[in-house]
Each structure stands twice: as structure tokens, then as C-alpha cells.
């Protein structure tokens, strides 16, 4: 059944394989974020902002407050661009899987990049419903944590691995490894499960189609909620991990 909901489309390039559907959806999400932001910054003004600029400023202020709550704001300022992009990308990605497939089968016979297969399912797909995407984002977070830790503290950053005793290095290593794992699997699990259930509801047999409107609506609403919460959680945890790495107490 999982296979039926998300048919994995594999692209081959040399010896490398890619999840074509995930990448296509990632790029659709990126385009959506770019268009959204373009609408916001089209008529930038320091006076009375337009509606879209106001929305973007609210998002930026929101992420700013998240950063300011977790760490010294001046230290977190360079991260702000990354974090705002992250929260928007994850949120748009989570939402993408809830949007019906509006290609109406027009791409059915397109063999280029197997687009016909990619746009075969009844809904679009969240890129975050693929562990590859969430793992990529989580790895970036951990790279960022280690990089900023070394940047602020130099080699002294590694000192905290052997605190209070060298034997604790094992625990610290597990801690460092578990951070991207939990980040990736939490987001993936939430969104993937949501899409599976959405697909299952959509696969109800014909007689259930009309009564199925109600559970679909409820589940879509709940998925919007979950998607928003998960994007927030991802950003908050990234901020928290970074603040742990750059804070003075370690």
C-alpha cells in the first residue's frame, strides 16, 4: 500500500541514483518559496509595508524571537537568513503533499525524467515525506552546529566531548549522532504518516467517496497544523543545538 501511495521514481545518473519525485517536489517547493518571497520583497519600503511584505516581516520577526529566546541574539544574527529559509522551506514542503495533483494526467505520457510517473498520484508529495530530504536538512543543521562551535571556540569546542571524564565521549558521540537522526526521523515520520493516511482516505472505494469528504477535510486541516508545528520544531531544535554549541557554559 505504501508503494501505491508513493511510487518511488528512480533517476539514474552514472552510478548514482536519485529519488526523482522527491527532487521534483523539492524544486516545486523551492519555487513556491521563491515566488512567495519575491511577492513580499517586490515593493520593499521602510514606510508602510504592503500585505506580503508584512507577512514576510512577521515570519522574520518570529524567527528572530525564536533565536533571541535560545541564545545571544548577536551570535545568532548570521544564522537568521538560514533559519528563515529553513522554516519557510519546511513549511511549504509540508504543505505541498496536501495539494491535489492539478496536472490532470496531462503529463501521463511524458517519459522525460519519468514525469508521467512522478505526477501520477492523486496528490502532490511533500519532499519532507522522503527521509532523504529530512536527512539532508538535519545533516546541514549538524554541520552548522559543529562549524559554528569550532568557529566560536576553536579547537576548544571538542573539549566538551570529554567532559567531565574522557569516557563520556561515547555518550557525547551518541548525542551528536542522535541529533540529526531525531530531527530527520521526526519530520519524516510526521509528514510521511500524514500523506499515507491522506492517500488511504483517497483510496476509499467508490461508495465512500462522498462520505470520505469529511475525514479528508479533517485530516487535511490536521496535517496543516502538524506541518506548521513540525517546521517550527525543526527550526527551534536547530537553534537550540546551535546555541548549545556556541554558548560559553560548555
Amino acid at each position: 500500500m505504501i508503494k501505491e501511495v508513493h511510487e518511488t521514481v528512480i533517476w539514474h545518473w552514472g552510478a548514482m541514483t536519485f529519488h526523482g519525485k522527491t527532487l521534483i517536489m523539492t524544486w516545486i517547493s523551492m519555487t513556491a518559496v521563491l515566488v512567495f518571497c519575491y511577492l513580499g520583497v517586490r515593493n520593499l519600503t521602510s514606510g508602510k509595508p504592503g500585505k506580503m511584505q508584512n507577512v514576510l516581516e512577521m515570519i522574520v520577526d518570529f524567527v528572530k524571537s525564536v533565536v533571541a529566546d535560545n541564545m545571544d541574539y548577536e551570535k545568532g544574527r548570521p544564522l537568521l537568513s538560514y533559519l528563515v529559509t529553513l522554516i519557510m522551506f519546511v513549511f511549504f514542503s509540508n504543505m505541498l503533499g496536501l495539494i491535489p495533483n492539478f496536472t490532470f494526467g496531462l503529463l501521463h505520457d511524458v517519459h522525460f525524467a519519468q514525469l508521467g510517473h512522478i505526477f501520477a498520484s492523486p496528490s502532490m508529495m511533500s519532499p519532507t515525506a522522503d527521509i532523504n530530504t529530512t536527512m539532508a536538512l538535519a545533516l546541514l543543521t549538524i554541520f552548522l552546529v559543529v562549524y559554528l562551535g569550532i568557529k566560536t571556540k576553536g579547537l576548544h569546542y571538542f573539549h566538551h566531548f570529554i567532559e567531565p571524564y574522557p569516557v563520556f565521549a561515547i555518550i557525547h558521540a551518541i548525542d551528536l549522532l542522535s541529533k540529526p537522526m531525531t530531527l530527520a526521523f521526526r519530520l519524516f515520520g510526521n509528514i510521511f504518516a500524514g500523506e499515507i493516511l491522506l492517500g488511504v482516505i483517497l483510496m476509499l472505494p467508490g461508495i465512500w467517496v462522498l462520505p470520505g469528504i469529511l475525514p479528508t477535510t479533517i485530516w487535511l486541516a490536521f496535517s496543516i497544523f502538524v506541518g506548521a508545528i513540525q517546521s517550527y520544531v525543526f527550526v527551534v531544535l536547530t537553534t537550540a543545538y546551535v546555541s548549545q554549541a556556541v554558548s560559553e557554559s560548555h
Binding site: 500500500m1 505504501i2 508503494k3 508513493h6 518511488t8 528512480i10 545518473w13 548514482m16 541514483t17 536519485f18 529519488h19 522527491t22 527532487l23 523539492t26 524544486w27 523551492m30 518559496v33 521563491l34 518571497c37 519575491y38 513580499g40 520583497v41 520593499l44 519600503t45 521602510s46 514606510g47 509595508p49 511584505q53 514576510l56 516581516e57 522574520v60 537568521l80 537568513s81 538560514y82 528563515v84 529559509t85 529553513l86 519557510m88 522551506f89 519532499p127 522522503d130 527521509i131 532523504n132 530530504t133 536527512m135 539532508a136 536538512l137 545533516l139 546541514l140 510521511f192
Partner: protein, 165 residues
């Protein structure tokens, strides 16, 4: 591919690159200018608040100055009025005194005139009476002179006239 949804492949680096591209594009095209604008607005509002405070203080100062000036002006006006009142009072009393004096003078000269007129009138009357009495005497004498026995009467009359003088 089976039913296992957890399969890692080169999608991970591809996604990392895509996402980093997105971060780069957005931070260059959206967040930097947007945050600059927000910062600009912040400083704008700050400076506006500062200038408003400044202007308020200035207005306060000007108001205080005006009040001070008004107070001074009122004070001066009162002084002027007081001075004018005093001047007019003295002037009035002077005028009154002068007019009293004038009146006194006029009265005195009038009295002198009256006295003189009266004296003159008396003198005139006297001389007229004397003339008249002489005339009367003449008439009587002319009527009665020829009448005898009137001698003592004339005598008496002449005597009386003489006493009058």
C-alpha cells in the same frame, strides 16, 4: 523497491545543494534587503520619536517663554495704567485748583467792578439828586418866591440840602 520507505541515496547531497542554493538566493534577494528595511524603519521610528520629544521640549520652552513674556506685558500694562491714573489724577486736581483760582479771581474782579459801579452810581445819583433838588428848588422858588411868608420855608429847604451834602 519493496515497501521500505527508508532508503538513502544521492538524493541527500542533491537536496543539500538545492537547499543551499535556496538559502543563498533568498538571503541575497529577500532577507538581506528585507532586514535592512526593517532596520531602517526601526531607526526611522527611533529618530522620529527623538525628534518628536525634541520638538515637544522646544514647544514647552517656547510656551514658558510666552507665558513669561505675557506676565511681563501684563505687569507693564498695569504699571502704565497706574501711572496714567496717577498722572490724570494730579492733572485733574491741578485743573481743578487752577479753575478754582480763576473763579476766585473773576469773582474778586467782579466784586471790585460791582463796588466801583455802585460807587459811580451813587455818585451819579447824588449829583443828579443835587441837580434835581436844585431844579426843584428853583421851580419852587420861582413859584413861591413872590409869595410872602415863604421865606422861612426856603430857608429850611436850603438848610436841609446843605445838611445832605
Amino acid at each position: 523497491m519493496g515497501g521500505n520507505p527508508i532508503q538513502f541515496d544521492f538524493t541527500v547531497p542533491a537536496t543539500i545543494l538545492s537547499f543551499l542554493l535556496l538559502v543563498y538566493l533568498l538571503s541575497k534577494l529577500a532577507w538581506k534587503p528585507l532586514m535592512k528595511m526593517m532596520e531602517e524603519r526601526r531607526t526611522n521610528i527611533e529618530s522620529m520619536l527623538a525628534s518628536a520629544e525634541n520638538e515637544r521640549q522646544q514647544a514647552e520652552k517656547i510656551k514658558r517663554e510666552y507665558q513669561e513674556e505675557m506676565r511681563k506685558a501684563r505687569h507693564e500694562a498695569q504699571e502704565v495704567i497706574a501711572k496714567a491714573t496717577k498722572v490724570s489724577e494730579t492733572r485733574a486736581s491741578e485743573i481743578l485748583a487752577a479753575s478754582h483760582e480763576e473763579a476766585e479771581k473773576i469773582k474778586k474782579s467782579a466784586l471790585v467792578d460791582i463796588q466801583r459801579e455802585r460807587d459811580r452810581a451813587i455818585a451819579e445819583v447824588k449829583s443828579q439828586v443835587a441837580d434835581l433838588s436844585v431844579l426843584v428848588a428853583e421851580k419852587i422858588i420861582r413859584q413861591k418866591l413872590d409869595l410872602k411868608g415863604q421865606g422861612e420855608l426856603i430857608e429850611q429847604f436850603i438848610q436841609e440840602v446843605g445838611e445832605m451834602q
